[in-house]
């Protein structure tokens, strides 16, 4: 790499510090937005810097490409609905990983022109790592995107030869990686990238829908490490620090999320391969349940002193957050105590429900986290479960064979009455039946969450 002037190195260092401050800010509710802006500022400065101290070729094309990508990014970010946030993160992560892999391939091509003695082994190892893991991250993210966007089934995809194919792809990657390191062969690097795509696909296919968010977080950490390795290859400290920060914090965040779901990361990735992640029925059951009309439910709610709402992804899909808030405000105005119980993984990824309810302007004091509210269900008259299923499924406590077994759940089964607003009897994202639906204290109100809530609201007003 050509020498970087000292002043530019100092600016790079400042940018690296900016990223640390950004992450620090993002982890606190009051500082989060500022943190994000600091990160964006640091990134902008770091990207502009080489235009200042280097005499770059192809300037118009480069600037055009940046403008094009930025435009795409902004359009995507503006248009995406909050319910689709996990897919969006997966997609952004994937293209980042892909970019890193391409950068490493270009650098490999460059290194191929140098005499072998001038190129360090570690640089080549880092190059091969970037190509491989960047491709894994790209392909894996595309599959998670397809799963979340319902372009393909969200259930685990397993076929007979999958473990063998996966092992073969890993061995192939090692061989190709060795060729890259040993002989600086460009074709081996390209083949390594293709192999990485295969590994990424095979890695994510067997992961069940409910676990996909954890995989997104893990792939996010992968991309971070890829960028760090790319930074080492290019001799750029900002890339190294920023990539490592994301890699380390992403890994930590993945473990936090897995713990909140009562799952272990290896089990998520390889559970389906070993065959111990039993798949649920995935179909509607025809066992008898007790269903009721909106008027009955309105009476139930109207005479309750203590109500807890459990919102789930179904609420957000129906865009019914605003109607729900109106209903809650009506009940509160009549003296009922109402809180929202927020499971850590409510929605499609940890913290997703908080974002969705914030969008509907629900005051965050009313959002109570699982650990705080679980003791309250005993003293609760009615629990209203809106479009949630897995996070209240007692199978997590009672059925060791269930894929969600061990996940901490909201103890709604301890309440006097439970009302489910559901579209149909189809099981939740994890694909397992919920015994609570058949409990004598449970009432079901079938229909689209928004329609049901609108009817419920007018029935409650008429009381």
């Amino acid at each position: 790499m050509s020498a970087v002037p000292t002043w530019a190195q100092l600016v790079y260092l400042l940018c690296a510090v900016g990223f640390i401050l950004a992450l620090k800010g993002l982890s606190g509710p009051r500082t989060a937005r500022t943190g994000n802006l600091i990160g964006a500022g640091a990134a902008a400065v770091a990207v502009v810097l080489p235009f200042v101290y280097l005499d770059l070729d192809h300037l118009p094309l480069i600037i055009g490409a940046i403008a094009l990508g930025s435009l795409g990014g902004v359009l995507g970010a503006r248009r995406v609905q909050m319910t689709q946030m996990p897919q969006m993160v997966a997609l952004f992560n994937g293209v980042g990983g892909g970019a890193a892999a391409l950068v490493a391939l270009l650098e490999l091509e460059e290194l191929g022109h140098l005499p072998a003695s001038a190129v360090g082994t570690f640089v080549l190892v880092a190059t091969a790592f970037t190509v491989l893991v960047g491709s894994v991250s790209f392909a894996g993210s595309v599959i998670t995107f397809a799963k979340l966007q319902d372009l393909m089934t969200s259930r685990p995809v397993v076929f007979a030869g999958l473990p063998v194919a996966f092992a073969a792809a890993l061995v192939g990657s090692l061989v190709l990686g060795w060729l890259v390191v040993d002989a600086t062969l460009l074709w081996a690097g390209v083949a390594l990238g293709v192999m990485g795509l295969l590994v990424g696909v095979l890695l994510v296919l067997p992961v069940g829908g409910a676990d996909v968010p954890i995989v997104i977080s893990l792939l996010n950490a992968f991309t971070g490490l890829t960028v760090a390795a790319g930074g080492y290859v290019l001799g750029n400290v900002v890339l190294l620090v920023a990539g490592t920060l994301v890699g380390a914090s992403g890994t930590f965040l993945t473990l936090l999320m897995a713990r909140a779901m009562g799952r272990s990361v290896p089990n998520i990735l390889f559970g389906a391969l070993k065959g111990n992640s039993t798949l649920g029925a995935g179909e509607a059951s025809d066992r008898p349940v007790r269903s009721a009309g909106p008027e009955d439910v309105a009476i139930l709610l109207g005479y309750a002193d203590r109500v807890i709402i459990v919102p789930g992804y179904g609420l957000a899909v129906a865009q019914a957050q605003h109607t729900l808030r109106e209903l809650v405000e009506l009940l509160q105005a009549r003296g009922t105590r109402v809180d929202y119980a927020i499971h850590p993984v409510a929605g499609r990824m940890p913290g997703h429900m908080n974002v969705l309810l914030a969008e509907a302007q629900v005051p965050y004091e009313q959002l109570v986290e699982m650990d705080e509210i679980n003791g309250e269900f005993k003293h609760t008259d009615v629990v209203l479960v809106v479009g949630a299923n897995d996070v209240v499924n007692p199978a997590a406590r009672t059925t060791p064979s269930a894929p969600i077994y061990g996940m901490p759940i909201l103890d709604v089964d301890q309440a006097q009455q439970v009302v489910f607003l559901k579209r149909s009897m189809r099981p939740g994202f994890a694909g397992i039946e919920n015994e609570l639906l058949f409990d004598p204290r449970t009432t079901l109100l079938f229909g689209d969450a928004k329609e049901s809530l609108t009817k419920l609201l007018s029935a409650a007003k008429a009381l």
């Binding site: 192809h58 940046i66 990508g69 290019l234 930590f252 509160q332």
Partner: protein, 102 residues
């Protein structure tokens, strides 16, 4: 210290910083944090610019430009979408008490 050791040192220290700065995050912020961290690794755009600006042949130029487009989507889109989410967390604070009293 040799060059390699310097890089290794920076790497190891960054790992600890990365874990330390987010160790106290509440689950409320998991989604924006993931999205924000995701945006930060879009800084590979810098790497893509460095490589593309010093390349000579047409095929490598094309690959470099593709990398730049992809990285820019990651970087810019990531920060914008994170800001959109966080905006909703802060905006409602003043509005909320009034609505509740109505």
């Amino acid at each position: 210290m040799t060059d390699g050791m310097v890089w290794l040192t920076i790497f190891v220290l960054s790992v600890f910083v990365g874990v330390e700065v987010i160790s106290k995050v509440s689950s409320t912020l998991h989604t924006p944090l993931m999205s924000g961290a995701n945006a930060i690794h879009g800084i590979i755009l810098l790497g893509a610019v460095l490589v593309t600006g010093q390349t000579e042949s047409t095929p490598t130029l094309v690959v470099g430009l593709v990398a730049i487009v992809l990285a820019a989507v990651n970087l810019v889109g990531g920060f914008v979408v994170t800001d959109r989410m966080l905006q909703m967390f802060t905006r409602k604070k003043p509005a909320a008490p009034k609505e509740a009293q109505r």
